[in-house]
Each structure stands twice: as C-alpha cells, then as structure tokens.
C-alpha cells in the first residue's frame, strides 16, 4: 500500500465513513503496529480516541487479595536489571513509566500529565526532542515527591555503563535531558527520532527514585538495598519479596489515580510450569491470573469447560517463522560456516524459495497444532495494525510448487529428488526441541516430499539453540543448516528495531561473534535505504508506508516464510473484571484498574 492510499484511508476516517477501529485493524492487516496507526491518525488531525478501555469505576480498597501466578519466578525488582519479562512485570507492580501502551499501542499517561504530540507542540516537528509534563501530585511510597530530577536521574543511571542496565537500548539515543521546571522535562535526541516514546514508556520506561538510588549508580549498583525493596509510585507498596518465589504488595493509600486500586493486597507467586499454572486459574480457581500460557490450545479449551476461568488472547509481536539461509552452511570459510563470503547453492534461487513458501501449510499448522495460540500469517510484521501489510497473501499449493520448480529447470531424479546442474534439493531443517515445533516440521517435510524436495529434520535442545555461545555451531545465530524455524519477538509497538534483522550491517558473523541480528544473512540495498529513511521520517503516514514496504520486500523475496503469529495468552479467572491485556506492555500495565465481580 502506497502513501497515497494510506492518505485516502485516513481521509475516510476523518470524514467518518471508516471507523477508527476498522482503520487500525486494516493497518494491522498491513503488517503495522496499532500504536503506529494511532500516530498516523493523530498526525492527520484525527483526535486521539480517549482510551477505549473504559474501566469500570471502583473505589479504593475493599477488594481483598488478588493472587497472580508466573511460572517463571521474578528474581529481582529493579526494572533496569530485569533479565526477563517476569522481572519487568514484578517491578511494574511498584514502579511506573511516564506512559504505558494500551492494546492498540496508544500511549496512556501514567506519571505524565498528558501525552506529547506534534500537534500540542510537545514533540518537535523534526523529531529531535520531546517535552513531557509530569503529574504534580505524585509521591514515592516513602512520601518524597516525584519530580523532573527523578526522570533525569534514570537516564544518567542507565547510561553509566558500569551500572550494567539492560534498558540502555531505549535510552542511548538521548543527547541530553533538560529540566525545564520541577515537573517538566525536555528530552533532546541525537537525531530525528520518530519513535520518541521509546525511553520512559512501556516496560523499559519504569522510573526509579533518585533519592534512593543515586548513591548506587555505576559499580555499586548491585549493592542498592532497594533492588529488592522497591519504593515506587505504583498502585501497590512493597511488603515482602523472596527472589525466585513470591512478591507481596499492599495497597498504596496515596496512589495518584483516584479511587484506585481496588485490591487491598497483591501476591505474585512464581515457579512451576505453564500447564499447572493454567490449571490453578482456569480449572481450580485457586489463583486469579496467570501469565504467558504456553499451553496447547486443546488443553486450554478442556480446562475452560469448567467455567471458572478463561484464556485471554491478545495480539502482540511474536512470529514463528522459517528462515532461509542465503549463505552456504556446508562450506567453511576462515573457520566459519554460513559465511557471508559464500552463496547458498540453491536457496538463493527465487524459484526454490517461492516453492518452499507455498509448501508451508500454515492452515494445517494453525488448525492442528496451535489453535487460538498461533494464527496463520503471510506477514513478518503482524501488529500493531498500521504496520501490517495487506499486499501479501499465503497459500498452500503443492501443484503450484511443482510448476514453479519444473519451470525453473529443477528435474526429478531417479530417487524422486529434484536436481539442477548436479545440485540436489536436499534441505536440513532445524529448530529447537519443542513438541509444537516438531509437529510443524513434520507437516512441512511431508509437503516437500510430495514435491521432490528432501528434508532432513534436526532438533536442537533449546538451551543450546538459543544460547549465544560463540563456540557452538548449533545456535540459531550460527545458522549451520539450510533452513530453520523459531519465534522472534517484537517487543516495542514500533517495528523499526525489529526490522533491523534484515539490514546488511546486522549480519551475524564470526567477526561479531554471531551477535548480529541478521540471521538469514540476506542483503538488500533497497531495504537498507528504506530502513534508514524510516528511522528519520517524522510523518507517521510516510513512515508507516516505508515500514510496510520493508515487510513486503522481505516477504516478496521470501527471506523468511512466516508460519503463525503467536498472540500473548494469559489465564484469567472469570471473577476478575477489567483485566485488559496489552501486547506492547507488561501484563501489569493496567493493574491499578483491575477489579473483581461482586
């Protein structure tokens, strides 16, 4: 979809002939993210919808205890050290960012008084700065006021490399932060930054108090007593924490949002496994909420019949996809397989890639394996809507694959395997050990066998496969096979950083110890150019068009074959109310609004 068409659609929304929601859905269909769709509308002067998530009114307190279950236990409560979402979620009970992302990716102000935009002048037209107004009535749990100094401090804290903060990726584009007054900050970026909400919003944006952490910046960061005893601004105050087991919190009587939270206390229990966690919420009702249900849909459905709880499914940025290797994994150059100096003998032939693309039976994979937890897709970027491409479709067609290969001169040999110029279509297909993935491998292998492509399956234990050990050739980033499959995650509602895995400077190689993010080793000058252009484009519509174009390039060249996109699944008790999930933020982004049916 071109910029012109996008503009036409926005015109329809303005005129009222197309609903806002429909527009966002269309954009998701195009491979864009919902937050970006919202930005596009905002830039065109369509008012930002008041957060659709109208939470039921409640009063502060009186809700007793809410019990939540994470099958991976949180190990620390400092958001800047969070090794996984479990730690971010636990921190989110106590700490808040300036803004959170709602399910459509809109910014919902938390510690900010309002949402900056180009229209209200808080975002510079050239995207080099953003001004945030902070709420004035916010106090830390220990009674000290929350001010602009805290915001500035968080940036300094994270940027000190001796602190070893994991959130540094979101903050390093900041050139400086000016404190305009006690409750106003101006963030100045090093260059044009269309995704200006990356710092201080979402799961990496939580703000820790300056007065308790300033003595523990840099080398001494580990010794801060408040790493385990958070003093935040959030709806709940800290009671007790046992790393790897339990977080306990109680209502914050001074919380800055009136009449919230409803619950008097919160417990977050960790450990165990996903299936029994689902059981504790959906089947026995022992717990009210459980995170990340990596459970087969069939099992979830069976549990749901009891009527005590349900699986809540929300779109996010996870995509299970098959990568095609552009380099030759079977030739070693300077001690490196899949070296960028080689070319894959047959996967670089577009005909072979096209054939493989129609041989992946996404429909069956969804129906037979993932159910509601994996939706067949043709796109690499599947949400938020404004970045989702509509130009691509998927099909499963063995005849078509045969035609393509016949036409390209790949002839079946005596053994039934196609060959051309002495090169046989023999493919090694690797993934991690995981029942769902092995079933998917089988479906693909069978279709390939009927087309004269010989597929050898390989499964590597997840510990090794997803490790970053430079000495082990079986990791996903070494990519020592012809094709491989795994899930990659888009964490932010902006696909820019997600799409850098197709840029030429990110190619994984021995030189960068296989830490580069471009695993397929695909190179395309056009994509490189568009990526850079999108990184500086301030017009959200033009930018969305660029990002859609990148998705289309990847899909049309069949760099990867998307299989299913995997929404986030949580288990929620039927007694709970307003437990709204967002695919772009922590599970607890709206914890202050949760309540229970009487």
């Amino acid at each position: 979809m071109e910029e012109r068409e996008l503009r036409a659609l926005i015109g329809q929304v303005k005129a009222g002939t197309l609903s806002r929601r429909r527009f966002v859905q269309t954009m998701v269909g195009l491979g864009l993210t919902a937050p970006m769709a919202a930005q596009m509308l905002a830039s065109a002067g369509v008012a930002q919808a008041q957060t659709k998530w109208t939470f039921n009114p409640s009063k502060r307190g009186g809700g007793a205890l809410v019990k939540t279950l994470w099958w991976q236990a949180p190990t620390l409560l400092n958001p800047h050290f969070a090794t996984g979402t479990k730690d971010q979620d636990a921190s989110r009970v106590f700490y808040e960012p300036l803004g959170s992302y709602d399910p459509d990716g809109n910014i919902v102000p938390m510690l900010a008084a309002d949402v900056p935009s180009v229209q209200n002048g808080q975002v510079a037209r050239d995207g080099t700065s953003v001004t945030w107004h902070l709420k004035k009535n916010v106090v830390w749990h220990d009674g000290k006021p929350f001010t602009a100094d805290d915001v500035v401090f968080n940036w300094e804290y994270v940027m000190d490399s001796a602190t070893a903060a994991v959130s540094v990726g979101n903050y390093r584009d900041i050139a400086r932060i000016d404190k305009l007054d006690s409750h106003t900050v101006k963030i100045v970026f090093k260059s044009s930054t269309p995704f200006w909400s990356s710092p201080f919003c979402g799961p990496y944006g939580m703000i820790i108090p300056k007065h308790l952490f300033q003595a523990y910046k840099g080398d001494k960061s580990r010794e801060a007593p408040n790493n385990l005893k958070p003093i935040g601004t959030g709806p709940f105050r800290f009671v007790d924490f046992k790393p790897g087991d339990l977080v306990r919190a109680e209502l914050n009587p001074n919380y800055h949002i009136p009449n919230r939270p409803f619950f008097d206390a919160l417990e977050m229990k960790g450990g165990g496994d996903a299936i029994s966690a689902a059981r504790a919420v959906i089947q026995t009702g022992e717990f009210d909420y459980a995170w990340n249900m990596q459970v087969e849909d069939e099992i979830l459905k069976r549990m749901e019949q009891g009527g005590r709880g349900r699986a809540d499914i929300v779109a996010g940025g996870n995509i299970e996809h098959i990568q095609l290797n552009n380099t030759d994994p079977w030739t070693e150059v300077d001690g490196e397989r899949s070296s960028i100096k080689t070319r894959h003998p047959f996967l670089t032939d577009l005909a072979v890639r096209q054939a493989l693309n129609v041989l992946v039976d996404r429909g069956s994979v969804q129906e037979q394996i993932y159910g509601r937890t994996g939706i067949a897709t043709a796109n690499f970027v599947n949400a938020p809507s404004r970045f989702v491409s509509k130009n691509t479709t998927w099909a499963f067609d063995i005849d078509r694959a045969n035609q393509i290969l016949d036409g390209a001169g790949w002839k079946r040999g005596a053994d039934g395997i196609r060959a051309k110029d002495g090169k046989k279509l023999k493919v090694v297909y690797q993934t991690s050990i995981n029942a769902l993935r092995q079933k998917t491998q089988q479906i693909v292998k069978q279709a390939c066998a009927r087309t004269g492509i010989d597929v050898e399956l390989k499964a590597v234990t997840a510990n090794v496969y997803f490790s970053s050990d430079p000495a082990n050739a079986d990791t996903y980033s070494h990519f020592s096979t012809d094709i491989q499959m795994y899930t990659t995650t888009m964490i932010e509602p902006d696909p820019q950083r997600f799409l850098d895995q197709f840029t030429s400077w990110e190619i994984a190689s021995k030189e960068n110890k296989w830490q580069g993010r471009n695993i397929t080793r695909w190179r395309n000058d056009e994509l490189d150019r568009i990526w850079k252009a999108a990184g500086a484009e301030m017009d959200p519509v033009k930018r969305a068009a660029l990002l859609v174009k990148m998705n289309d390039l990847v899909i049309q060249n069949i760099v990867v074959v998307p299989v299913v996109f995997r929404p986030r699944v949580a288990a929620i008790s039927n007694r709970m109310r307003d437990v709204v999930q967002s695919g772009w933020d922590s599970d607890f982004w709206a914890i202050a609004y949760w309540s229970k049916h009487a």
């Binding site: 205890l65 279950l69 236990a73 190990t75 620390l76 050290f81 090794t83 996984g84 490399s161 001796a162 070893a164 903060a165 994991v166 540094v168 990726g169 979101n170 390093r172 990496y204 580990r222 790493n227 385990l228 007790d240 046992k242 790393p243 790897g244 087991d245 339990l246 306990r248 206390a265 417990e267 229990k269 450990g271 165990g272 029994s276 059981r279 504790a280 089947q283 026995t284 022992e286 717990f287 234990t461 510990n463 090794v464 997803f466 490790s467 970053s468 050990d469 082990n472 990659t488 995650t489 888009m490 964490i491 932010e492 950083r497 997600f498 850098d500 895995q501 960068n512 830490q515 993010r517």
Partner: protein, 319 residues
Amino acid sequence: MSKYLLRRALISIPVLIGISAVLFTILALAPGDPFEELATNPNVPAEVRTNLRAKFGLDDPLPVRYARWVIAMLRGDWGFSFLSRVDVDTLILQRLPVTLVVLGSALLLAIMIAIPIGTYSALRPYSIFDQVATTFAFIGFSLPTFFTGLLFILLFSIYLDWLPFIYRADIGASGWRWYWEHLRQSIMPVAVLGLFQAAAMTRFMRAAVLDVIRLDYVNTARAKGLSERATLVKHVVRNALIPVVTLVALQIPSIFGGAIVTEQIFRVPGIGSLLISSILANDTPVVMAVTFVYSALVVASNLAADLLYGWLDPRISYR
C-alpha cells in the same frame, strides 16, 4: 572418640574439595549462559551482555574462576546470584526453613507409619495384615514421587477440589487461620514424601524386628513374666531400632534429593526448587552453593550414621 571425629572431619575436607571441583567443571562445560534471555531480546544491545559477562568474570578461564570461587568460599563469601544479584547465602537461608519443615514433617510421618506397621507385620509374619502391608510398601517405593505428586493433585485438587496445590510460604493470615492454611497446603507434599519414605522404612523395620524377636533374651524376658507389651517395647523394638536409625540417617541425602522434584511440583519455595530454577537459568553461583550444601549434608549424615550407631550400641567402639 574425639580423635575419631577429628579424623573423619579431616577426611571429609578433600572429599568436599573434590566434589566442588567436579561440579564446577561440569557446570562450566554445560551449554548456556545466565544472560541468554538478553541475547535473544532485540531491545537489549549486545554490549550489555558482554559487559555483564565481563563484570561477573564469566569470560575468565575455568581454573581462574574455580580458584576465585574456592578462595571466596574459604573466606565465607558464597558469592551472589547472577540473576537476582542477591548474596547466595541469603537466598539459601530464605529457602532452608521451608525445606526443613516439609522434610521434617515428612520424616515424622514416615516414622509414625513405619514403626508400628513394620513391628506389627513382623509379629505376625505372612498374616493377611503383613501381606497387605508388604504389597503397599512395594507399591510405595516403586512409584516415584513426581508420579504420586501428580496423582494427588489430580485427585485432591482437581476432582475433589479439597486441597490447594500451590504452596505459599507467606500466608497473609494470622492465628488459627494461618495454621489451618499451612496445614492444608502441606498435606499433599508431606504425604507424597512421607509415604515414599515410609514404604522403605516399613520393610527395614519388619526385617529388624524379625531378627530380634527370635533371640534368646526375648524368650528370657517373657519367661521372667514380663507382659507382652513391655517385652515388645523395651526389649524388641528398642534393639530393632538400632539398624533402622542408622539407615534413616544414611537415607537423609536421598530424601533431600526426592524433595527437589516434589518441591517443583507443588511450588514449595525450598532449596530444591531454588536448585532447579538456578540450573535452568545457568545461575552458576547458586547451583554451586546449593549442590555444595547437599554434598556437605551427605558427608555429615554419613558421619552422623556412624556416630549414632556407636551411641545406640555400646559394643561398637571407635578407633
């Protein structure tokens, strides 16, 4: 006696050093990295992980890391967890009480079941009671705890809906309710562990009583007119317990081992579940410390078994 104790204590030092060296090497050779999750996260730049690895000394050669660990350990510094950045001894001390309570109650339950049943079986060998008890004992120690654990959950939590299957160490209640909640959630893990131990212990007890009851001094006791009850309690059971006590002491390490799985199933926050989660997360300092505690326990309970034996049976002397 004290000389013997000293010698045994000194011997256990090289044993512990050997165990720690083997553990450390295996852990270092195993694949994985505590900061793996960061590596696959597009939001976290690669330098963060490299910095963390360098900061925590993970890039140094194996012997250097081992030497550093041993020296710190000798100074009483157990190191800190890579994940939670908390001192390891704090973590273990937090978890230990729960493990001890659960294991202690399980052991108590086992003893309370095993001694009467074992004794009664031996008094009437091959009676119906003995046959039934033997059958159950064999079933008991043939079924692994992870299996009985799941069966219990299925039956008592899911079908009958009587008991919770998630253990919470901190219960936000006080007074009688606190005890009641603790009791309810402890029933299943304690029963699973206790019945497993009781099964083996019943067999030990039965064999020991059978050995003793045929001896002449038991007949003498009866002949001098002691009641059957007094004979049994003062002469038979007391002597039969000597080998059983030793066996129980020797079994303690394996009980800790069995508890690892049970703790995981019921989410009991003990050191067993700490061990599993640290292994999964490649959190080397915690794994080292917990396994080290376990191996120290093995060495100590072996020693305790030897000492107890001598104390119960004065005919044995230590040299």
